[in-house]
């Protein structure tokens, strides 16, 4: 029994990103998560030329804040639709698919998709700080507690190392391949006034001197913890054409999951991320492939996870990403610039919503010194929890 893409999906082209917003990416914000999420949300609504009264759908993140408090504090009075993908860092990009379904089905017209957290301060609370009220609730945390944490594997770098070590050992992936990802993100961050790592350029020698956290992950393979929030407002493409900015049209997308999704080590192939399932479906829906993209915003919690996703997108065969990233291919000026804002690695960790915001900025041609010249199609991936994947394919809507 196969599950092919539905014939003639109603989704491609019907929805567009009309507004984007983000806070700074800070090591220590004096605002609560809710305040940051509200600020990013209001910025996105205003950017779209709208007010909260125009919003009728909210797709909040899978933790930290909830839709009802967002609606109440912003003054969104008539919520017709709310829903939350539960897949960690794959959630924001997956939420675009949910939004596209709701809008193309006429269930809601203008949807706010926000996320934010105190990724730095939660781990280093100020003496007067109150704990976060709402945590993530995914079932895999139970797996971690029972089967990984007793062995000294308590958070993401240690869980993911269990499959990333297999990746580098089976395919002989050199550290310089992961380093190329870290260097590209850091180079792009030098062009971004909001990037945490602006002003701190990185060389391959710096990268190779970085100490191991847990092999194969070095400190500089890990993204930066930040306090931040980001949001987008989406609406019908038709309506977006009447709003201030060039619509950023959603051509298609998908989510995909390895099985079992709640445990890493007992999958038939531990290296087969959910993105392997999602990417072909997204390409079929959108009518384009990764080779049609002018840039790639790839979820980069860890550098090796970017390499694996490039393979899952079909840009390289298994183990082939190491060659793919050589020679500046993934830097601005190369064929596939990756994470033109600096990514989670060097801008800040906003669960990949900063990748969506940057993709929209690029396609509006508002990316300043990081602009990919004349770009018209961009690809965003999400990755979360134990390898859930999501992808969105976006296009400049001035045709």
């Amino acid at each position: 029994m196969t599950q092919g893409a539905p014939e003639a999906s109603p989704i491609p082209g019907r929805m567009a990103i009309a507004g984007i917003g983000e806070t700074g990416y800070l090591r220590g914000s004096d605002q609560s998560v809710l305040q940051m999420v509200l600020a990013a949300s209001m910025a996105a609504i205003t950017d779209a030329g709208l007010t909260p009264a125009d919003v009728d759908g909210i797709l909040p993140p899978p933790g930290f804040v909830a839709w009802d408090e967002i609606a109440a504090h912003l003054g969104v009075r008539n919520v017709r639709y709310t829903s939350t993908p539960q897949m960690g860092g794959a959630s924001p990009t997956a939420a675009l698919l949910t939004a596209a379904m709701a809008i193309s089905a006429g269930v809601a017209h203008t949807i706010l998709v926000p996320i934010g957290w105190n990724g730095y301060s939660a781990l280093r609370p100020r003496p007067d700080a109150r704990p976060s009220k709402r945590r993530f609730t995914a079932a895999f945390f139970e797996t971690v507690r029972n089967f990984y944490a007793p062995y000294g594997l308590r958070s993401a770098p240690w869980w993911y190392a269990l499959y990333l070590q297999r990746y580098v050992e089976l395919y002989g992936v050199p550290p310089e391949a992961a380093g190329a990802v870290a260097l590209a993100c850091r180079a792009h961050a030098q062009l971004n006034g909001k990037a945490l790592m602006r002003g701190r350029p990185l060389t391959m020698d710096d990268y190779l001197a970085s100490p191991y956290i847990t092999e194969p992950l070095r400190k500089l393979d890990c993204c930066v913890e930040t306090d931040c929030a980001a949001a987008v407002v989406v609406t019908s493409t038709e309506r977006a054409r009447d709003l201030p900015h060039v619509p950023v049209v959603y051509l298609g997308g998908a989510e995909g999951h390895a099985s079992p999704a709640d445990e890493l080590t007992n999958r038939p192939d531990m290296l087969r991320l959910g993105l392997y399932e999602a990417a072909p479906r997204a390409f079929a829906m959108a009518g384009v492939t990764a080779a049609d993209a002018d840039f790639l915003q790839i979820y980069d919690c860890f550098t090796h996870v970017v390499l694996l996703q490039l393979e899952a997108l079909g840009l390289a065969g298994p183990g082939g990403a190491a060659d793919f990233v050589k020679g500046g291919t993934i830097e601005l000026g190369g064929r596939y610039p990756v994470n033109t804002h600096g990514g989670l690695m060097s801008q800040g960790h906003c669960w990949g919503m900063n990748h969506v915001v940057e993709a929209a900025r690029q396609l509006r041609h508002e990316a300043g010194p990081a602009q990919v010249a004349d770009c018209s199609v961009g690809l965003v991936t999400g990755y979360g929890d134990l390898g859930d994947g999501s992808v969105a394919i976006l296009a400049r809507g001035d045709a």
């Binding site: 797996t143 062995y151 308590r154 240690w158």
Partner: protein
């Protein structure tokens, strides 16, 4: 100082842990109808969808499927252990188990090495799963040092 994590599972995982702790022998869930093994334990067999199962004793023998050598930890209870190696063992029966390597030179661990999962009792319910290497017998001194560090 908080100690190392001692899991407190319920339901199926508790049954598995109790089967291991009460016998001192590695166990894995097995479908009572088709015989397929599963780990972690599940309410329905992923092969034949049967709800009937048992916890079956296994030798613990298998091969290294993956591993990581941790040079840094955020957990105070593990600080004296770095660098420590953690192994994903593919049991000969099929399921994969995460355990702590007992190896005199953890940097020499490679995929495919023959190993055995050996439970070490910690509480009435929980046994810490260790991984012994066929070609790298743990010296008595190293074993004693490991026990002292774990205590």
């Amino acid at each position: 100082m908080p100690g190392k994590v001692i899991p407190q599972p319920d339901d199926l995982t508790l049954e598995l842990f109790q089967a291991i702790a009460s016998t001192g022998q590695m166990h894995v869930q097995q479908c009572a109808d088709c015989g397929a093994y599963a780990h972690p334990p599940r309410y329905y067999c992923a092969q034949c969808f049967s709800p009937r199962y048992r916890m079956t004793a296994v030798s613990g023998a298998g091969t290294v499927y993956s591993h990581t050598l941790s040079h840094y930890t955020t957990e105070p209870a593990w600080k004296d252990d770095v660098p420590y190696a953690t192994v994903v063992v593919e049991l000969d029966e099929g399921p994969r188990i995460v355990g702590a390597a007992r190896h005199p030179d953890p940097a020499a661990i490679r995929i495919g090495q023959r190993v055995r999962v050996v439970p070490e009792p910690r509480t009435d319910e929980f046994s810490f799963l260790t991984v012994e290497f066929d070609d790298a017998p743990v010296s008595e001194a190293a074993a004693a040092a490991g026990e002292a560090a774990d205590a």
